[in-house]
Symmetry: C2
Subunit: 255 residues, 2 copies
DNA sequence: TAATTGAGTGTAATTAAAACACTTTTTATA
DNA sequence: TATAAAAAGTGTTTTAATTACACTCAATTA
């Protein structure tokens, strides 16, 4: 019978015994949702998008955006759909985080949720609540969160952890800056997410940069992550600042 | 309506409109299973436990052990249950890997599977097929896999990747060796999983070892991972070999 | 007693990471 | 028009971590 259960996931034949006790059309199967942690960096702060719940349970409490998956839709597609509905953003970095499925996490029924992490550039986000039947949605500082519904606090903590470590060994930061940016701006992104000050010179050193004249750094092990542009941006009370862009705006492991 | 869907996962009230189109008791919701990648190192090889499918689809094809989750059971509990049924092992390292949910991954119906990684020590595993109605189960070399059902090959590749990187920055290897072992034995575990030869001296150097006399290495940043025992094991055609054990047999990040 | 087998051990060279301070450009102000 | 303010830009030194590398010792077998 141990085996019967195992097999049941895959086989229809030779499971008459099993089907007698477990009918795929039964209602006692879990619901599956996706929840999305949408991060952006704005106003020198790491922000996360939350929605305020309209009905019970946790009525009025802030929660992660999310929803049921449709039958024909991949998990990632479901997350992208929800994300687009909330922010208007189409192309974003999206990464599966973890699946939370404790029986008690939803007080009413068994809900298993696949959590996703999304990074969006502040400038890309459409102003909230623009012409929709949306519940109230707001950006919160990750460093000053309200009480959250369900186990969403744990999901957020997990997401921050993941973001912090991804920043160390990938180029994901490109999703949080506009096409062109100064090194100081990029450094701020890192400082805000890691919540620590970085040394300017060491920061620049760790980035592999292709300079404007030279076609390529000759080291095939360390392809450049950034490209220095010929352009500059006028400073405020100071000199002009060099602009950079990411060589490829697609996730890559660095080093 | 976008919001309605999102909310529906959480609210019962104020969803009369939603419930008209989506009934929680409907059959058009996905099934959720767990699949488990059970690794062990034996005979100088990295082995994974597979079962042979008894019914369609993929009848006769090898697949990962797994099965439906029960309603009152956490995902991890479901994985542990399946694992115990297959191997007889009770206490094991178990880690959630990733959730695979592409609509087409099961040809019959929508099945979302939460994949787990388990590590068991070769000596702990009960001989396969011992008194059960089990389908055929066998250990396969990770480096010589048969064709696999569903997307199980992708799951296995993902699991190997995860295991390889976990080995770099945690002490998970303790799950693959007996209580007491020689450094050479431990090194073999690493070599087999990383599929590369390691330098004996450098390997020993990277392990933090507490020596039998001394109570503690005085460096709080690098607490010892191994403890050298007073005991030795007689060698074959050579001298006696020192035995070691892991200081804590619980997952820990090292360095 | 000579050959075999694997354990056990240290140092030098290289690479990566961390610490650290002054000069330059521009704008605003005295 | 000289000076102060604000942030950009730029190298070197020190330290730590990683890599490469070879011989001796103990026990067993032939």
């Amino acid at each position: 019978m141990a085996r019967a259960k195992t097999e049941a996931a895959y086989s229809t034949q030779s499971d008459q015994d099993f089907l007698a006790t477990y009918n795929p059309a039964d209602y006692d199967r879990p619901s599956v949702t996706v929840d999305i942690v949408i991060f952006t960096v704005r106003e020198n702060d790491l922000k996360v998008l939350l929605i305020q719940r309209k009905g019970p349970p946790y009525q009025g409490v802030w929660a992660l955006p999310g929803g049921f998956i449709n039958m024909g839709e991949s998990l990632e597609a479901a997350a992208l759909r929800e994300l687009h509905e909330e922010t208007g953003v189409q192309e974003v970095y999206l990464e599966q985080l973890y699946t939370f499925g404790d029986p008690g996490r939803d007080p009413r029924t068994r809900v298993i949720t696949v959590a996703y992490l999304a990074l969006v550039e502040a400038g890309q986000v459409r102003p909230l609540q623009a012409g929709s039947d949306a519940a109230q949605a707001r950006w919160f500082s990750m460093y000053g969160l309200p009480d959250l519904a369900f186990d969403h606090r744990a999901i957020l903590d997990y997401a921050l952890q993941r973001l912090r470590s991804k920043l160390e060994y990938t180029n994901v930061a490109f999703q949080l800056v506009p096409e062109k940016f100064t090194l100081r701006e990029l450094q701020r992104i890192y400082e805000i997410i890691w919540n620590e000050k970085l040394d300017k010179r060491n920061f620049r050193k760790r980035l592999t940069i292709r300079e404007p004249g030279k076609a390529e750094l000759p080291d095939p092990e360390h392809p450049p992550m950034l490209e220095e542009l010929a352009e500059t941006r006028p400073g405020g009370n100071y000199g002009p600042t060099k602009l950079y862009r990411f060589v490829d705006r697609v996730e890559r492991v660095i080093k």
